[in-house]
């Protein structure tokens, strides 16, 4: 599974990344997690509000800090 967190480096973006890492660890799934802060790439996904979550190249959430509970639903 390939997970990308799109964010410009703000506090919320880091929080989402942390939540994702924690969830992935708890669910024991192998995932490639990357924090994308390059604006060109963020725009390339058509995302206008950060933080956004991209799983296997599909944008699943924008402008929200998803909590672990929500992430479990999305990642499984």
């Amino acid at each position: 599974m390939e997970i990308k967190i799109l964010g410009s480096g703000c506090k919320k973006c880091h929080q989402l990344e942390k939540n994702v890492r924690d969830t992935v660890e708890k669910m024991q799934i192998t995932a490639d997690i990357e924090h994308v802060s390059d604006i060109e790439k963020i725009i390339g996904y058509g995302v206008m509000s950060t933080p956004a979550l991209v799983v296997n190249n599909k944008v699943l959430s924008t402008g929200k800090v998803l909590k672990e509970k929500e992430l479990v639903g999305i990642l499984s």
């Binding site: 604006i39 058509g46 995302v47 206008m48």
Partner: protein, 321 residues
């Protein structure tokens, strides 16, 4: 609406703290507890409500709606939607690029960027709690007006050349709205509530604390003389002072409330509040990534003048509210 709370706090001040009504200390203590509880109740309700509404206005949708309008109507719509679209300043850059790449004119994009921070639910609530519904609504109207006209002016001045060149060359992906059910929307509203209250309560407490001290002890005659509604310079000074402040915006309102009680002009206080929210230094530093300094300058001057005019307006009509 909050008479019961006012009475309840007096009971607390008189019977539990043993303070005598009419003394400076009792007045300050009452102001503090009453304001803290009242504002927290209103704030929680309001944030929950508006966050729920916001879950229906994802940025993509807002952009689609705005793109259907032309001329100043587009500025007006962008300004209105700026109120209900969830937006934090750290998303300024992708939002700016997304708008202009999506064919939204520069001036219309600015209408959104100006109104969105000015009219925020927390400022609205605290104004409502401190000054009543008329003032709070007038504040919203003025915020929309400044955004509409300021953005329109920026559009007419043809400032597109001050947008960084790379912005026009970027390829915007096809963004789509993410489906949400009612459960998601409620969860979003609740998490916003926790997030915002968690972030601002400390500033609010400090602000109300200072407000309470002013309420009990500040020298009325001196404040009224230098910052009263008759002093036109006070509005300008208030706006300039507001630029470097940012996260303390909400704490500033209870201070403003107490100062107004001591003779400071309402317009002066509101202009200060608008300047704190709309003309924020961190926001400008973020926007520098997509626009040149000159355009930031235009944005600053146009919005600043708008706010100063609103300040004069409120000072002039205060007595009729």
């Amino acid at each position: 609406m909050f008479k019961w709370l006012e009475d309840l706090i007096w009971l607390l001040v008189e019977n539990v703290f043993g303070l005598e009504r009419g003394s400076n200390l009792a007045g300050s203590v009452h102001f503090f507890f009453y304001d803290v509880i009242k504002i927290l109740i209103l704030l929680s309700l309001m944030i929950f409500l508006i966050s729920y509404v916001r879950s229906y206005f994802q940025t993509e949708r807002t952009r689609r709606i705005v793109s259907k309008f032309r001329g100043i109507q587009a500025n007006f719509m962008a300004s209105l939607l700026g109120i209900v679209t969830p937006f934090c300043s750290c998303s300024s850059v992708p939002l700016f690029i997304g708008f202009v790449e999506g064919g939204i004119p520069l001036g219309v994009t600015f209408s959104f960027l100006i109104t969105s921070p000015i009219v925020n639910e927390a400022a609205f609530v605290i104004l409502l709690a401190s000054f009543g519904i008329k003032t709070a609504l007038l504040y919203v109207v003025c915020g929309v007006l400044i955004g509409t006209l300021g953005g329109y002016l920026i559009g007419r001045l043809k400032l597109e050349r001050y947008v960084e060149e790379y912005v026009w060359k970027l390829q915007m992906g096809a963004g789509e709205e993410i489906n949400q059910n009612q459960k998601d929307r409620f969860a979003f509203a609740l998490s916003q509530l926790k997030e915002i209250v968690g972030r601002i309560w400390i500033y609010l407490l400090i602000g109300i604390g200072i407000g309470a001290a002013i309420h009990g002890w500040a020298p009325e005659e001196i404040l009224a003389r230098y910052a009263g509604p008759e002093n036109p310079l006070a509005v300008i000074v208030a706006v300039v002072c507001g630029i470097p402040l940012y996260s303390n915006a909400l704490g500033a309102i209870p201070i403003a409330e107490a100062l107004i009680g001591k003779g400071v002009g309402l317009g002066t206080a509101l202009a200060f509040l608008m300047a704190v929210t709309a003309l924020s230094l961190p926001e400008m530093i973020i926007l520098r990534k997509v626009i040149k300094v000159k355009l930031i300058g235009f944005f600053l001057v146009i919005t600043g003048i708008g706010i100063i005019l609103v300040g004069y307006l409120f000072n002039a009509i205060y007595q009729y509210l």
